[in-house]
Amino acid sequence: MNGAQNSSKVVLLHLAVIGVLLAANFLLPEYHRGVFSRVLVLAVFAMGYNLMFGYTGLLSLGHAMFFAAGMYGAGLPLYHLGWGVPLSFGTGLVAGVGVATIVGLLALRTTGVAFMIVTMMFAQVFYLGSLYFTTWTRGEEGLVLNQQMRSIDLGGTAISLSDPSTRYLIALALFSVILLAILKLVRSPFGRTLVAIRENEERMRMLGYDVFRAKLSAIVLSGLFCASAGAAYAILFGYVGAGFATIQYSILPLLWVLAGGAATTLGPLIGTLFMFYVIDYTSGLTTAYLLFVGVALILLVLFFPKGLLGTIRERWLPWLP
């Protein structure tokens, strides 16, 4: 049967991507391994964004809030209370889910352009809040989590997360879990519901689906995934700062997802990797990397609205999820 064949092809493809990334840990030179571990974490952020923007069709301009909620949720207890890494990671996730639930309940009362502006404003309130409570967050300057805080005690042996290889493997583990979760999610009836809502919300409502609940679930899941990326970033790279809550960090995942291909499971990874190296390369040539980001956004939206993987799927590989 064609469907089953495609299904195993899809699963194999995703496992192969994870396999290649695992091999990369042992093959990549030091600098690029560092870049890759950062990209893997940020790709999780982009995947969380994609679930809402690509699959559900909700264009949010406030996702830095979810990322930063995870980051502060994990970083603050780690820094101030000395809670361990696993517990802090957990509080990061809880913070993300909490913020996403509240924002979702409020913002979903609006649609379209108003939705974007409301999400942007909530994110701005969050950002200003992180500046206002400077006593604990140190604002733009941020908190540096030292190496001792960032180690896990496993039956007497301490695993240091600042070791490049450990860091890479943990980033990859998080990436793999979220990638497979999203793959499962978008191929499930729930994922199909989200896509159908994106295509025609009114029809779904008429068919008797609880559109509000489905959209809220998408936001909460997106918040959870983005917060996991934020928490992981804080723990793996040892820095928590208000810079990650700025509007720029709401726009970057949009750029990554657009570049890689909205509503594709692997697009966010490809987009993040691509844009990261493009910026890395151009900032070596010129300091004007924002110019490049701007031009890239305009060119993408004008001539390449489906992104890299989206175009490949449309032309050659219609079975890509």
Binding site: L59, I117, A288, L290, V301
Partner: protein, 293 residues
């Protein structure tokens, strides 16, 4: 000084903010209202106006008023031309699709910001006010230029109101805003109206920026706050409502200035942004707007 004079000072400063904000927000509101385009690059047009004002005014030697007047004429024209160009090159090709234009104007924001950083630099640079008069009040002297800004903005608002409601151009714009297809069927060149409105919106922002530079200095990141505040004003005031824009600008300007003086600027912005988000959530048509079609 007691509590009263502080409040008066805060209110006067707030009115200056409100004046500049009303002009900026009016530009955003026109573009949003007529074209249904959320122009995220609006703050950068504002910044561009301020930076150009510095460039033009320093190019003229002699009395500061000469340079300032030149800036008042040149900066809005150049910014309007830049806006016209980006409208033709980008927005029209996207067929004014709301989501695509948001992404594209974010791109413009970055491009303009980076160009300003590259060619103008990261310094904040002052512009001489055209005149230096202090108006003596019993408790403090208040800058005459700041009063001039308030009156200039009021004059500009009246001109805009007159154009919108009493002239043929305004009629054409309102017809396009009300129903694009029907307007086109009646022979209105919708295409050109859109281009004109986009340029006009940018010019209003630039004008507001020229007025503020003698008070605030020109800096390449100065577009961020006006953008957010203009969004706030447009939303509270309701789309396309001139009266709403003015009232909201005064409300935001005054509250921002008073809360900033007595508490903290960050808290003021937090409260304003949060409240506005709530307005949008619970009353999407704005406080003064009529229900959206």
């Amino acid at each position: 000084m007691g509590f009263g004079p502080y409040l008066l000072l805060a209110s006067l400063e707030g009115l200056v903010t409100a004046a500049v904000l009303a002009l900026t927000a009016l530009g955003l509101s026109l573009v949003f209202g007529v074209m249904r385009v959320v122009n995220v690059a609006h703050g950068e047009f504002f910044m561009l106006g301020a930076v150009l004002a510095w460039g033009v005014s320093t190019a003229f030697a002699g009395h500061p008023a000469i340079g300032f007047t030149a800036a008042l004429l040149v900066a809005p024209l150049v910014v309007g031309a830049a806006a016209l160009l980006s409208e033709r090159l980008v927005l029209r090709r996207l067929n004014y699709d709301p989501e695509a234009t948001i992404v594209a104007t974010i791109g413009m924001l970055y491009i303009i910001q980076q160009l300003a950083l590259t060619f103008y630099g990261a310094d904040a640079r002052p512009v001489q006010p055209p005149f230096n008069i202090r108006i003596p009040l019993p408790w403090f002297g208040f800058s005459g230029y700041k009063l001039f800004v308030i009156f200039a903005a009021i004059a500009m608002m009246i001109v805009t109101w007159f154009v919108l409601t009493r002239t043929k151009i305004g009629l054409v714009m309102r017809a396009t805003q009300y129903d694009r297809e029907t307007a086109q069927a009646f022979g209105i060149p919708v295409d050109r109206v859109y281009a004109g409105v986009f340029a006009l919106g940018a010019m209003l922002a630039a004008l507001a920026a020229v007025l503020i530079v003698p008070i605030q200095q020109a800096h390449y990141l100065m577009g961020r706050d006006p953008l957010l505040l203009s969004f706030i004003v447009v939303i509270i005031g309701g789309l396309g409502s001139l009266r709403g824009t003015v009232v909201a600008a005064v409300l935001i300007g005054l509250s921002d200035s008073i809360i900033s003086m007595f508490y903290s600027p960050t808290l003021a912005k937090m409260l304003a942004t949060g409240l506005v988000a709530m307005v949008l959530v619970f009353r999407p048509q704005g406080l003064f707007g009529t229900t959206a079609r």
